[in-house]
Symmetry: C2
Subunit: 192 residues, 2 copies
DNA sequence: TCAGTTTTAGAACATATGTTCTCAATAGAT
DNA sequence: ATCTATTGAGAACATATGTTCTAAAACTGA
């Protein structure tokens, strides 16, 4: 009967993340996606339909397999250590590359409502998770009792975006790790 | 003798800022630049050489005429009010559009060393200006004396990048203004 | 081994896009 | 007014790029 397909959709999606990170959406050409993923054109269009639709799938894959896993640190209910663990994982992830979602917002956000919506969702979720963590931290007396939780969560969300941009500029240096300490240190009651 | 050119380089550069903000670099096509700026192809290439070189000129113009002017708030030597004035101007500027420089870093930073360098310069400068402002604020006793100036300046720089991304997502709402208050409020000794 | 179906590789296609070229229109010096 | 250098509008060009098509290769089940 039929022949079996050789390509691995997951591998293709993972490859594509790096390509889109390097060249942006419009800067990425199909030839590179197809060549670097050891794929073939026909298979690509049968599987993914179009470049734009493919981007959405890559983004979903990116969120599911990377961002979501990093955010899970915030759900371990440890208060500040959870936040520290989140940033450690995030910085490691974006180091030298940046964040695909943030890049897409910057490049396509104005024209593409779907990207905007995904971006809003992501930042809202981040904010909510930070609030949860900070409340826990306050209960555990890791935080100054009069800390304004909402505004601190907003701070942390800003840091995430700041890191996403800086990661592109900083390359493979340790700047971001150092920055993390400088930013999170002042939060805790005692020195970390 | 010769005929006089009709186009206005400054107007062309200003138009281009909006176009690049909307569609990104690769998403912007020459036809739109030329049409929207009431320009003509020949003049364009005589004046600017190429799309890439044009982008650099637009970015320089953008920094000189927008970012620089906003950053001048930080050089008025008023301490915290200078910082507040900076953010007010910045938020107003990026509202509903984002920041061209940040967008270029996200889209092109990986491939384009020149963009990276411009980006680094900009963020360094921002950081230094914030430090100056915070020191002044400390002298004027607007700040808790034990505030860590360096790490606070880093925070503020992160906020700037956070706003640049959020401005695209937030559209024309007042979210950013509210966020500014939430972020800057906790800095000052007395409620603003 | 053979048949049938699907995949693969890449040619082919249509359009888009950055850039150059042509030539008539035009402004200014004489 | 005339002449001439330069502009302006868009045709023209070469290449790039997203997508589809073709025909040979390959896998599976009988």
């Amino acid at each position: 009967m039929p022949r079996k397909a050789q390509y691995n959709v997951d591998a293709v999606l993972n490859q594509a993340i790096d390509i889109f990170l390097e060249h942006g959406y419009h800067g990425t050409i199909m030839d590179e996606i197809i060549a670097r993923a050891e794929f073939n054109r026909r298979g690509f269009y049968l599987e993914f339909g179009s470049k734009q639709h493919f981007l959405y799938l890559v983004l979903a894959h990116y969120q599911q397999n990377y961002l979501k896993k990093i955010m899970q640190h915030l759900e371990t209910n440890q208060g500040l250590p959870s936040i520290a663990a989140f940033f450690e994982a995030y910085v490691k992830h974006v180091k030298g590359k940046g964040c695909l979602l943030i890049n897409c917002i910057a490049e396509l956000g104005f024209d593409d409502a779907k990207i905007r919506e995904i971006g809003r969702h992501y930042l809202d979720r981040l904010q909510i998770d930070f609030i949860g963590c900070l409340e826990k931290a306050q209960n555990l007396e890791q935080l100054h009792p009069q800390t304004n939780i909402e505004s601190t969560a907003l701070q942390l969300t800003s840091y995430v975006q700041g890191f996403a941009v800086n990661a592109i500029l900083a390359g493979d240096t340790d700047e971001l790790q150092i920055a993390t300490q400088a930013l999170l240190g002042p939060l805790s009651l005692k020195p970390v």
